[in-house]
């Protein structure tokens, strides 16, 4: 009985949390799409600054990581493909697993580490130093002022980063393909292009858009829920990262299943 109550309580808490994320995302969407027509302009300047921070500054580390992932994928695939004398399928194995799954996922995880945590820390610190209260007393809605530019930056930059990550993954695969699998660089790229369908890339980009919403919602929600005191900011940052990683993988599963059943493949 006790256990059932506890489980029920946890489920309720989890649902309430998901509800708060959905509310925050919906508000941000409202302030982006409807607000400007009601005389509540979006801070595009701030969104651009955030986009630089979320996107452009992430490029070096993301490039390196996804290049390595591409190379690892090629090595792992070649290990198995070699047995069937099908090593020339390395290019398509890398291309498909990068664009459908690992490109969006690795990008999301890098962005959680860099920006999801930063969102929670920034908003959490503002809460502790009463800056959020100051916004409210100035009749400025914190969701419109702080959260919305982050959503805009994230849902634009994450798909862009994902495309870049896919390309770097393919380059990583090409390093193996050219040196060990008898491809020329051009033939490797041709094999990649032949293997990919538009839906592989699009499904990855849809996922990355949803990841962007999830990461921003969790980062901002954790920041807004920060308690009093500096140590609470650290706690918010940690939970933003942990919850984001979990939810991104959950969203990944849901959308992968959705594409699988809807796509009939």
């Amino acid at each position: 009985m006790e256990l059932a109550v506890q489980i029920g309580q946890s489920v309720l808490n989890a649902l309430a949390y998901l509800g708060s994320l959905a509310t925050l995302s919906a508000r941000a969407a409202y302030y982006t799409l409807v607000g400007p027509f009601q005389g509540k302009p979006v801070r595009f300047q701030r969104a651009i600054t955030q986009a630089m921070q979320v996107g452009v500054r992430a490029l070096p580390i993301l490039s390196l990581i996804t290049f390595f992932i591409g190379l690892i994928l090629a090595l792992q695939a070649a290990y198995e493909l070699k047995k069937f004398g099908a090593i020339n399928f390395v290019a398509s194995a890398v291309a498909i697993s990068m664009s459908r799954e690992l490109g969006p996922l690795i990008t999301a995880i890098v962005v959680i580490g860099r920006s999801g945590s930063a969102f929670a820390a920034e908003i959490g610190t503002m809460k502790v130093t009463e800056e959020l209260d100051a916004l409210e007393t100035m009749a400025i809605n914190p969701t419109r002022f702080l959260v919305t530019p982050k959503f805009i930056a994230m849902v634009i930059m994450l798909p862009c980063l994902t495309i870049w990550a896919n390309a770097m993954g393919v380059l990583g695969g090409a390093l193996f393909g050219v040196t060990k699998a008898g491809f020329t660089f051009l033939s490797y790229i041709n094999a990649t292009v032949d293997a990919l369908f538009l839906r592989d890339i699009v499904s990855g980009l849809i996922k990355s858009f949803m990841f962007g919403v999830t990461i921003t919602a969790v980062g901002c929600q954790e920041g807004l829920a920060t308690g009093a005191g500096a140590e609470q900011v650290g706690r918010s940052t940690t939970s933003a990262v942990v919850i984001s990683i979990f939810l991104v993988i959950a969203v990944d599963l849901i959308f992968t299943a959705l594409f699988f059943f809807l796509g009939g493949q």
């Binding site: 503002m126 130093t129 009463e130 800056e131 209260d133 100051a134 409210e136 007393t137 100035m138 009749a139 400025i140």
Partner: protein, 278 residues
């Protein structure tokens, strides 16, 4: 209950009216029925020790906490039942200077002060620029518009926060612990600034503090809050001559008897409650 000795027009409706205001955090009630009026153009100092509920009272007055019951009337609106839109509208007539300044760290002083103007008015940038200069001049921070808050001293941060609170020419100005964490000379400067603002703009000013010297310097009237209840309310003179034991204890800085046992503490609490109801 009191007749103020200062030139406050009692015929005008009060700027702020509190009626049996109760505020709770969850199950715990912090304010147990606070009632008083703030006249237009007066400076009211809210005194009280740590945990007395004075900060909660201030947060409730600016609409950051919603009362559980009771009424707060400001400009004909009851904050207890007001809609979010109406509250936002009302807030344009109120300015708040937070304890630590609460300036936005990612913006310069100028951007901080200009923010309410940019958000709530359709003024052109050159006009905002001029207003910004005037506001910074009023608080003695001319020429600091391009500094970031992190580059300012504690006293300057407070002044910048006051400039931001003044941006929309509020009718009511709130200060949370204006001299906390400042050295006596800088703190005196902030007191002087409050007096100047009052003289120049005839604003209603509410100050929460526990700094007695500063309180007696700036206040027209004072209210002493203890454990969520109003202990005394009156002019500075009435406070100074009050014989109420709690007022004397606070003003003469007498320490609470040490609480050794939880039971003693509970007994003390109940006795005190009886005392204040009598």
């Amino acid at each position: 209950m009191n007749t103020p000795l200062n030139p406050i027009n009692e015929n005008q409706p009060p700027a702020i009216s509190l009626r049996d205001l109760r505020v709770s955090y969850g199950e715990r009630e912090i304010l147990h029925g606070v009632t008083f009026d703030v006249q237009q153009g007066e400076t009211l100092v809210i005194l009280g020790g740590s945990g007395s509920g004075k900060s909660t009272l201030l947060r409730t007055l600016v609409g950051l906490e919603r009362p559980t019951s009771g009424e707060i009337w400001i400009k004909g609106k009851n904050l207890a039942t007001i809609s979010d839109e109406e509250l936002d509208h009302l807030r344009r007539h109120m300015g708040m200077s937070f304890q630590g300044g609460a300036l936005f760290g990612s913006m310069t002083v100028g951007e901080n002060v200009a923010l309410p103007l940019k958000e709530h008015t359709k003024l052109e940038d050159p006009t905002i620029e001029i207003m910004l200069r005037i506001k910074l001049d009023q608080v003695g921070l001319s020429g600091y518009e391009d500094y970031y808050p992190s580059q300012l001293s504690g006293g300057m941060k407070k002044r910048a926060a006051v400039a931001r609170a003044l941006a929309m020419d509020p009718e009511i100005l709130f200060f949370d612990e204006p001299s906390a964490g400042l050295d006596p000379i800088i703190a005196a400067g902030i007191d002087e600034l409050i007096l100047e603002l009052k003289k120049a703009f005839h604003m209603t000013i509410i100050v929460v503090t526990h700094e007695l010297a500063s309180a007696f310097l700036i206040a027209d009237r004072m209210v002493l809050i203890n454990r969520g209840e109003v202990v005394a309310f009156g002019t500075t003179e009435e406070m100074r001559t009050s014989t109420h034991p709690k007022v004397r204890q606070f003003l003469d800085r007498i320490a609470e008897p040490a609480v050794s046992q939880e039971l003693d503490y509970l007994q003390m609490l109940t006795e005190d409650r009886h005392g204040s109801r009598r």
